[in-house]
């Protein structure tokens, strides 16, 4: 029994998100092991006590938002506890009021760093320049300034490496993340204002106060955000906006043309373009993707498999994640022959949180029973190599030859990732995957020349080896090569 897996399953049960398969596994573990039951009971107790503490604290939080009287939770709270809660809530309300009515001071912290990677430069609003790195080897005297959980006043953050990323959170819970070589200035003087000079960022914005939408400026456009989730890519001459949820208003700088972009739409603001929002096809899950199957431990076929966003050629692409929850595998239906040469090619791109050392790993394998669920034996792993230019698609290829060990077994292919950065959160995209096989004579078996040498007639010589496509084009492509 793997303790960490057990804990993950217990967490999933407590959170109410456990799958049927995970629940079966968990129940089997609980049946068989007193230790597993003790662990389960500990986590259940912990959950109950955390909720007890959270319940008490949330009383203050409820009154804080509305300014109204304290809401008593539904359960029958003992009288003495009510009194204590009322006192505690009163103190919180008083403190909140004091803080709320304090005049805003210049230089106050407005965001918290939720996460960061790679090398970054931060310029505070006092003109203070801070260079930081998430690498322990590159720690500077400013490491404590640019570190997770640190708070910052308004300023400019600049990613200075292709694999840099920086995630900030405003005090109202709105978040923004920049990726790669991007420059973002942020401020919050009662109204949030961001300026993306170049690069790419994603944001999730909680509903903003009436009349004070979040404002985002890029060289080519202005955006007005009330509360939504979206991605922006800014280049000197154009700005791409994709709205995942909600509505964003975008105004082109060159002529002032304004359009509203709603959920699932994308628009490019550039001089001379039509600036019409285009509907992006909805994401598809593994369950909606033919041929490929998510064979990760989670077995969750409802995770996103393909998307049209950040496409290579205008069609959908495969979304890959380093997280163990996702592992696409295809049963090719092909029976391996000894000497078969398998060649793969595809295009791929590192996306959010993908580090400079992460790679795509295409794995060819067989199983002990020729079923996708059988015990696997990988006979070839072909790595993409690390990304040359972050944020752009690049080609990758590889080849492998089957031996007698794999002969007469069914071929399975997995599109996996290989972590190099130490964090299993990276996302990559892959398109136009092709797998072909070329049959070569099995080593040791008689060849055409041998027959001729032995004087045996060979009237109908086989044709020279020809490649046969197993996956690619319209063949077993899983709707992400050409659809």
């Amino acid at each position: 029994m793997n303790h960490s897996d057990l804990e993950q399953r217990i967490g999933a049960w407590l959170d109410g998100r456990i799958s049927e398969a995970e629940s079966e596994t968990l129940q089997q573990e609980l049946r068989e092991s007193a230790e597993a039951r003790a662990t389960f009971e500990s986590y259940a107790q912990l959950d109950a006590v955390i909720r007890e503490v959270a319940d008490t604290e949330s009383v203050g939080a409820i009154s804080r938002g509305s300014g109204s009287s304290v809401s008593i939770p539904k359960r029958a709270t003992p009288p003495y506890a009510r009194a204590l809660l009322a006192i505690a809530a009163g103190i919180i309300i008083a403190l909140t009021a004091v803080l709320y009515f304090q005049p805003m001071k210049a230089g106050r912290n407005i965001v918290r760093i939720k996460g960061l990677n790679g090398t970054l430069t931060w310029i505070g609003d006092g003109g203070q320049i801070v260079q930081g790195s998430s690498s322990p080897q590159m720690r500077t005297r400013w490491s404590n300034v640019l570190s997770e959980e640190a708070e910052l006043p308004g300023g400019t953050i600049e990613g200075t490496a292709p694999d840099s990323w920086f995630e900030l959170e405003f005090h109202d819970g709105s978040t923004a993340t920049i990726f790669g070589d991007s420059i973002l200035t942020f401020s919050d003087q009662g109204q949030k204002e961001l300026r993306l000079k170049q690069g790419r960022f994603s944001a999730s914005v909680v509903p903003q106060p009436a009349g004070e939408p979040m404002l985002i400026h890029t060289p080519a456009a202005h955006l007005k955000v009330v509360g939504t989730q979206f991605d922006v890519e800014a280049a000197p001459e154009s700005t791409m906006l994709y709205v995942r949820e909600g509505k964003v208003q975008i105004r082109r700088m060159s002529d002032g043309k304004t359009v509203d972009v709603s959920t699932g739409h994308r628009v490019v603001a550039a001089a001379g373009s039509e600036m019409l929002p285009q509907l992006v096809a909805p994401d598809r899950t593994w369950a909606q993707t033919p041929v490929w199957e998510n064979t990760s431990n989670s077995g969750n076929q409802n995770l996103i498999a393909t998307q049209e966003t950040r496409d290579y050629d205008g069609t959908r692409n495969l979304l890959l994640s380093e997280e163990p929850a996702s592992l696409p595998v295809q049963d090719t239906g092909y029976t391996i022959r000894s000497g078969d040469k398998f060649e793969i090619r595809y295009v791929w791109m590192g996306d959010n949180w993908w580090t400079a050392k992460d790679q795509i790993a295409i794995k060819l394998f067989t199983t002990d029973n020729d079923l996708i669920s059988g015990t696997r034996t990988t006979f070839a792993t072909m790595l993409s190599g690390t990304s040359i230019t972050a944020g752009t698609y690049e080609a990758a290829s590889g080849s492998a030859t089957a031996t007698a060990t794999e002969a007469r077994k069914r071929l399975f292919v997995a599109i996996d990732t290989q972590d190099g950065g130490g964090e299993l959160e990276g996302v990559a995209r892959l398109d136009n995957f092709q797998l072909q096989v070329t049959h070569f004579p099995e080593p040791g078996l008689p060849r055409l020349d041998d027959f001729q040498l032995q004087g045996i007639p060979f009237p109908d010589p086989p044709p020279p080896p020809a490649a046969e496509i197993i996956i690619g084009g319209n063949i077993r492509n899983g709707d992400f090569n050409e659809d």
Binding site: E20, E41, S58, P79, S298
Partner: protein
Amino acid sequence: MDDQSAEKRTASNDDERYEAFMRLLVEHEPRVRSFLRGLLPTWHDVEEVTQEASLIAWRKFDDFEDGTSFGGWLLTIARFEALKHRRRVARSPLVFADDVWDLLAEDACGEGGQQIRRRHLEPCLAKLKPGQRDLLLHVHSPGVVMREVALLSGKSEQAFYKVIQRLRAVVLACVTKAIAAENAK
């Protein structure tokens, strides 16, 4: 003694009985919630069954024998109420099979295991970074749907759940250590 005095005395006895019951309930209710959390699929179910068990305990308080364990008596009521409740809950991956449920209930009723209390938890929460503490409490707050918080977090759901699970593991290790130190005294 006239009727009015007898009435007053009865009322006074009732008040005392109620106070005695409330004192015991306040002392043992957290243990009941912890016990039920491992048996019922959601916190809402735990709240419902705890309320039901408390009401039944109050109605049957006359049957409770002074000098015996109120906690054990209340847990027995809670266990039966949980069983009744469980029969009403639709089948789902969150509802365990009967044999697993019985094993968990037996183990949780036993006196052998550790009992996590609020006094163990609070110092451990204080050791987390403020943002981590707030996040952990937030996702366990009434009415908060963890999936929605995960979506708002900007991280993928799986990454978000992993962060929460890591925080739980850290806090549980700390709490277990605190209980061991307390028992060693």
